[in-house]
């Protein structure tokens, strides 16, 4: 049996939350920190972990021109969740993970063998798997319950210890994977043929990356919801591209924008009841627009001076 990583992390990080809780603004927002409801602390911890790993993955997705794969795999994962629920699984995320790993590898194979280039393969898996889930849901005679609904739009407050453990492990595994592969990934992205000539196992690296994408997406589905996964995966990374000057600095800025989006989003949703997933997504998009306008203005000023 694996140790309960979520519980271990909580033991370390919840005291930090409690320590800063007096300085947190808002009426309801401090409850995420102060430990009166552990469910809220769990949701904050889960959100932060997911944001960190989504930011790292997003930076690589953008350079590999795979921005939409997150959305596609999230739909596949949602289909997997429905299957899991129908089969009576206590943690349907496992089913989601198996489905999206299979889909992710298939998409990679289709693209690298040039059978279907671009987003077409993503579109097929996304709709096919989602439809499959919905059809067997009808066949089983059920309707879309709140439980299923929560996977569409995210349900931070429903994160129990089991979910937190699973999400912690997924984040840890994908973080280690991405960190280990970071140079190789960049090399096979920028110039795949040169990478092959240098002796890098391009196919293996691509496959491992596909698995990592699937794991990260599934870890996000419970928290931000299948429909909004792309918001945390792509938007902060895209914002970072506007101001970063190197790949490293882009990775750094992605983390900043992701963190700010989550914090403002959680604040808005807890104070004004705007819904967590959508608030986070909206904040991320607004930050993109603001930074985009600012960098546009500063470029114009620079050009004007020259």
């Amino acid at each position: 049996m694996l140790p309960e990583l979520g519980v271990i992390l909580a033991d370390i990080i919840f005291p930090i939350f409690e320590y800063i809780s007096p300085y947190v603004p808002g009426e309801f927002f401090p409850n995420f920190f102060n430990g009166e409801t552990q469910a809220l602390q769990r949701s904050l911890l889960g959100s932060l972990m997911v944001t960190i790993i989504a930011g790292f993955l997003g930076s690589f997705l953008l350079v590999r021109n795979l921005a939409m794969i997150g959305d596609g795999l999230a739909h596949v994962a949602f289909g997997g969740v429905i299957i899991g629920i129908i089969l009576g699984a206590s943690t349907p995320l496992w089913y989601a993970m198996i489905c999206s790993i299979i889909a992710s590898i298939s998409i990679y194979e289709l693209q690298s063998r040039e059978i279907l280039t671009g987003d077409a393969s993503i579109a097929i898996f996304m709709t096919g798997m989602l439809a499959f889930g919905l059809v067997i849901l009808k066949l089983s005679g059920r309707a879309i319950t709140t439980d299923i609904h929560s996977y569409l739009f995210g349900s931070q407050l429903l994160i129990d210890w089991e979910n937190l453990n699973l999400i912690s492990y997924m984040s840890l595994v994908s973080l280690i994977g991405l960190f280990t592969l970071r140079h190789a990934l960049l090399a096979i992205t920028i110039d795949p043929l040169s990478a092959r000539v240098q002796g890098l196992p391009v196919r293996k690296i691509g496959l491992m990356f596909s698995i990592i994408i699937a794991i990260v997406v599934v870890s996000m589905v419970k928290i931000v919801g299948a429909l909004l996964v792309t918001a945390l995966l792509v938007t902060p990374a895209a914002t970072a591209q506007l101001i970063g000057r190197s790949f490293k600095s882009c990775v750094f800025w992605t983390q900043i924008f992701g963190f700010v989006s989550v914090m403002i989003g959680l604040y808005m949703s807890s104070e004004h009841g705007t819904g967590t997933g959508s608030s986070i997504a909206l904040t991320a998009a607004i930050i993109f627009v603001i930074i985009g306008l600012l960098s546009g203005v500063s470029k114009t000023i620079k050009l004007g001076k020259m």
Binding site: L62, V63, N65, F179, T180, L181, H183, A184, L186, A187, I190, D191, L193, S194, A195, R196, V197, Q198, G199, L200, P201, I205, Q241, G244, R245, S246, F247, K248, S249, C250
Partner: protein
């Protein structure tokens, strides 16, 4: 110089040996009966009109084509074999192919050249196995020092091309293949790049095969020229390569300055075929 003596005595193995290479791509004959031998320290220019199979020849040497007949040996090994990892540097067609919307600095780009199967899973950012030194050396070789932290999207085409070559140099490969490195460069940066490549062959003992359709530039710099059109139609010292003037005179052709290059290539094809 050491290389030259070895060549003359014929003791050294050739770097590249191609026997009767025939390549079909999507059912169409692209290369037929190509025979080629390249020795260490040679700077070979391959020219030919569009679609003459120049790039295909390079891809065959790299070993990424699916169907081909004939034999290719590099350092006495089959293309893409394990022994060749890190021995070949590849500079792909026009650095313009680099995605420009990616924020990556020259330093980061060149560093990718130092990644291989052994060090790609580097856990400790501090432990770099001399990679940083190789990056610095490669950047200096192409004369981009001072630009290390410039984003490749925001430098000129010539600088980007140099950065891509530096990436190939950082692999510390002895044998470098370049596909159309001169595209989109102005005369000045083109000349300095050619000088640079020439120096690699002379001073550093590297072997270079460069594909281009800029005939005059290649003729001035390379030692040996190959005219390729489905098969090798000319192979010899660059000085013996017929220049456009003599070709045009021989056939009574007048040409406009813009089409000079294309015309030269086309005429070469005709002349060789008649012979």
């Amino acid at each position: 110089m050491e290389a030259a003596t070895a060549n003359q005595s014929g003791l050294e193995e050739p770097i590249l040996e191609i026997d009767n290479l025939t390549v079909f791509r999507s059912g169409k004959l692209v290369l037929k009966d190509v025979n080629l031998r390249v020795d260490r320290g040679e700077f070979v220019g391959i020219v030919g009109p569009n679609g003459s199979g120049k790039s295909t020849l390079l891809l065959a040497i790299l070993g990424v084509l699916k169907s081909q007949e004939g034999n290719i040996k590099i350092y006495n090994s089959k293309p893409m074999s394990r022994k060749l990892y890190g021995k070949i540097g590849w500079v792909s067609q026009a650095a313009a192919n680099l995605p420009k919307d990616i924020r990556i600095t020259i330093n980061e780009l060149v560093h990718l050249g130092t990644i291989n199967a052994k060090n790609m899973l580097n856990w400790f950012p501090m432990k770099d196995n001399g990679q940083r030194k190789r990056v610095k050396a490669a950047i200096e070789m192409v004369g981009l020092q001072g630009f290390e932290n410039f984003d490749i999207g925001r430098i000129s085409g010539g600088q980007r091309q140099r950065a891509v070559i530096a990436r190939a140099l950082a692999t510390e490969a002895e044998f470098i293949l370049l596909d159309e490195p001169l595209v989109g460069m102005d005369r000045e940066s083109r000349n300095s790049l050619l000088k640079l490549l020439d120096r690699f062959c002379h001073d550093n003992g590297k072997t270079i095969i460069m594909v281009s359709h800029d005939l005059s530039a290649i003729r001035q710099t390379t030692h040996r020229m190959i005219f390729l059109e489905e098969t090798i139609r000319f192979d010899g010292p660059s000085a013996n390569f017929p220049d456009l003037e003599s070709l045009a005179l021989a056939r009574g052709i007048t040409h406009t300055h813009e089409e000079e290059n294309e015309l030269w290539l086309r005429n070469l094809g005709d002349v060789k075929e008649e012979r």
